[in-house]
């Protein structure tokens, strides 16, 4: 949350609620309810560490609102963020440990584990399909995000299929 908020502020000063709306617009249904409380807390932390500065702006008939802008240190932090590459997503470790350990416990069947896990993935895939169908066609970023999630899930499903092929041969 810290860096995305900094990135939104790179365009110009904004207050907390505006940032929430910017996030909503950018990410659409892929991130349906940005938590406004979380946004304010994060802004507080960013200010404390000197990456942004807030100014109280008076409003008629309403309490003051705080408008934040990026500091030089904040801009520096953003540069560093864009420079870095990110870790690859990993195989679902917990499921893998269940699969690997099931036979020796005698408490679970590997094929049954795979089938159950597949049902969960398929249900999630279905939810993602519905999300994509409901999303505004013009929100390309939201669509790319949902498609990315679907492709990861597809890989997980392919991998379950590989597990099942291998393990059924042993039976």
């Amino acid at each position: 949350m810290r860096l995305p908020l900094l990135a939104l502020l790179a365009r110009g000063p904004a207050h907390g609620y505006e940032l929430k709306q910017d996030l909503e617009q950018l990410l659409g249904s892929a991130y349906p309810q940005p938590n406004v409380g979380q946004i304010y807390v994060t802004l507080g932390r960013l200010e404390k560490s000197g990456l942004i500065e807030g100014e109280d702006v008076e409003q008629s008939s309403r309490p003051n609102k705080k408008v934040y802008h990026l500091t030089d240190a904040g801009r520096e932090a953003l540069h560093a963020w864009f420079e870095e590459t990110e870790d690859e997503p990993r195989v679902r470790d917990e499921f893998f440990m269940k699969l690997a350990l099931a036979p020796q416990t005698g408490l679970a069947d590997q094929i049954a584990l795979i089938n159950r896990q597949r049902r969960q993935y398929l249900n999630t895939m279905r939810s993602l399909s519905k999300l994509a169908a409901a999303e505004d066609r013009d929100n390309r970023m939201a669509h790319l995000l949902i498609e990315g999630a679907m492709l990861h899930l597809q890989a997980d499903l392919d991998w379950l299929e590989r597990c099942q092929e291998e393990l059924e041969e042993l039976e």
């Binding site: 895939m125 169908a133 059924e168």
Partner: protein, 253 residues
């Protein structure tokens, strides 16, 4: 809501103890090894599994394109596995629409003729055949392409023509064999959207695919391994709120 008969109705399609072994070069391949399956009216069933698992063979058995070595097939509770080739050909025109991975359009007929031909063969007057064709092509976003030849269309467009051809006689059952198998990601989404739309109107669909994204459009997914049904899962209609994908994206801290 579509007004389809409820759960109590007879299955559109039923198979019992289906077995099919391919005898080619080398060892016999056991493509389908004892499959029981029942599809209710209005259901959208996807069959998924690795390539070579026998899922296409299963679909071919259900559409009468291949004959089972053992077992029985019932369409609307009429036993069908003993039908002659000619009878199957007739029934496929009326009761079963099929779409394939490579479209199988007649390359020297126009788009309009490809779609109208099965309607005319089924005995529809030319005027009605044309009206059906116009309505379907319009619906599938192909208005203006009537005079094109299949080779002039993109893969996605050809598959939509194939879909129109399969549905022109309003068959109670649509079989689809890897319908997005030769399409790009955009074409895949298009096929998915169209299958969902026809399903919502009550079309019964059996779809064979290795693509989980496509399969997730169905409300029931059968996992097929090594010629047998390994799992038969009904998918939930709506996502559980607050978990899973209520946010695809998670922004921490």
């Amino acid at each position: 809501m579509s007004a389809t008969p409820g759960d109590g109705s007879a299955p559109v399609l039923r198979a019992e103890g289906l077995v099919k072994t391919h005898h080619g070069e080398g060892a016999p391949a056991h493509a389908v090894r004892g499959v029981d399956l029942s599809v209710r009216r209005g259901e959208f069933v996807a069959v998924t599994g690795p390539s070579g698992a026998g899922k296409s063979t299963l679909l071919h058995l259900l559409g009468g394109l291949q004959r089972p070595d053992e077992g029985s097939i019932w369409l609307d509770e009429v036993r069908a596995d003993g039908w002659s080739e000619a009878r199957w050909a007739v029934e496929r025109r009326k009761r079963i629409g099929i779409v394939f991975q490579f479209f199988n359009l007649v390359s020297n007929l126009s788009v309009a003729d490809n779609v109208e031909l099965p309607a005319l063969l089924a005995g529809l007057p030319p005027k009605r055949a044309r009206a059906e064709r116009e309505a379907l092509l319009g619906e599938l976003g192909l208005a203006g392409k009537e005079r094109s030849m299949p080779g002039e269309l993109s893969g996605g467009e050809q598959q939509r023509v194939a879909l129109a051809r399969a549905l022109v006689n309003h068959p109670p059952l649509l079989l689809a064999d890897e319908p997005a198998g030769s399409l790009d990601s955009k074409g895949t989404r298009e096929v998915m959207r169209l299958l969902s739309r026809f399903h919502q109107r009550g079309q019964t669909i059996v779809l064979v695919t290795h693509d989980a994204r496509l399969a997730s459009a169905a409300d029931r997914v059968i996992s097929f391994f090594d010629g047998r049904i390994a799992d038969d899962a009904t998918l939930e209609g709506t996502p559980a709120r607050g978990k899973g994908i209520s946010g695809v994206l998670e922004l921490r801290d």
